[in-house]
């Protein structure tokens, strides 16, 4: 889902930002286990990072807002292992395995974890970039029911291409199992007034990282 509660930019009513002094990496040990399971299951390549994001965005809004960060991760992961047929609902309910697992092509070992190489999402370009630095562009107005990385506040807005960041996996495709579908990625800058109206602070600008399908010539 796209227009769901995770797309928070510009919303009012959440109150002040509260920073915690000397915050620990994890507040509870289970948070670290959730992060680790998320990473280890991501290593199997059964789904993409965007598919993972989508499963969190698709949580019911009241749960999304009420759950802590790692609880959201946990719920997303639980949904994903069931949706991919790795674990049965009956096993989740029982709290233990009831039958052998299916064979995976990749399983993370402690040695893999130690090497901890982060993935690159850059891909060979299928063609030349459509836009150049300094070009005026307008973001498209899209409202897909599947995953996208174009925030609502930046749809249908006019900005300027500041940089071309290479060609990358397109999240909108990768999240739904439609492959990498590599697209050029641009940093596009908008004035706060373009995004938020004439009352906005004229000394503020904002950029998004926009994939080429999000952009049209202005």
């Amino acid at each position: 889902m796209t227009n769901s509660i995770h797309d928070m930019g510009g919303m009012h009513g959440f109150g002040p930002v509260e920073a915690e002094a000397n915050e620990p990496v994890f507040h509870e040990p289970w948070e670290g286990r959730v992060l680790a399971m998320q990473r280890a299951m991501g290593f199997t390549r059964l789904w993409t990072i965007d598919g993972g994001r989508a499963s969190i965005e698709n949580l019911p809004p009241l749960i999304y807002l009420a759950a802590s960060y790692y609880e959201k991760w946990f719920r997303g992961l639980e949904r994903r292992v069931v949706a991919h047929g790795l674990v049965g609902d009956d096993e989740i309910a029982a709290g233990r395995s009831l039958r052998p697992g299916i064979r995976l092509n990749r399983k993370m070992t402690a040695e893999d974890a130690k090497a901890a190489r982060s993935a690159s999402f850059e891909r060979p370009a299928p063609g030349p970039a459509r836009f150049v630095e300094g070009e005026r562009v307008r973001t498209v107005n899209i409202n897909p029911t599947t995953h996208t990385r174009l925030p609502r506040y930046a749809r249908g807005k006019t900005g300027t291409v500041e940089a071309i960041r290479g060609c990358h996996v397109f999240p909108d495709s990768a999240a739904i199992g439609a492959g990498d579908n590599p697209q050029w990625l641009y940093t596009v800058v908008f004035s706060a007034r373009e995004l938020w109206g004439d009352e906005a602070d004229p000394t503020v600008t904002l950029s998004i990282e926009a994939f080429e399908p999000y952009l049209a010539p202005a």
């Binding site: 930019g9 994890f26 280890a40 994001r53 506040y153 990625l185 995004l195």
Partner: protein, 211 residues
Amino acid sequence: MAADDHHPHDHDHASELSEMQLRVRALETILTEKGYVEPAALDQIVENVETKIGPHIGARIVARAWVDPEFKRRLLADATAAVNSLVGFDPVASHLIAVENTPRLHHIVVCTLCSCYPWSVLGLPPVWYKSAPYRSRAVIDPKGVLAEFGVSLPPETEIRIWDSTAETRFLVLPMRPAGTEGWSEEQLAALVTRDSMVGTGLATSPTETAR
């Protein structure tokens, strides 16, 4: 009250937490028994994020940029390549982008859609970075957010928000505090706070540390 994340003073939900502990332990048991994960790999991942990565890495990069103009030039041109050329650093993620704060322009990084953050140089993001108040307001009320962090900028300083909507990651290069001429890289790194590298803070000034 922000409901997006537990704040420390919310941690009296004892029954809720023990329920999470039980559910997480159950899932780990299931995944392990079915042969999908190795507990030793999970232990190693937790150890990595608790001990290997963190803002101390970013602080060393910033301090190096403050004392070495050629490194700073390369950092701003291609942060991934510049950092990976340094001896004694683990490779950082691809597509790291460094942006420089100046008296004219102040950068702030946010991820409105989730929690994208430059793990390899700053470690895991703090709770506030992932919270609804920060994600919703950094883009529409950056000065109000800065004020909550105790930061007020001169009126002539423009603000630029970076919404991390792809796999590019951003590191803010804060301004070097006055009164640090001749300081060693190690001394300078101690002035570089995590928040100064996200843009919600400034590097600590020597007069502050003396207090």
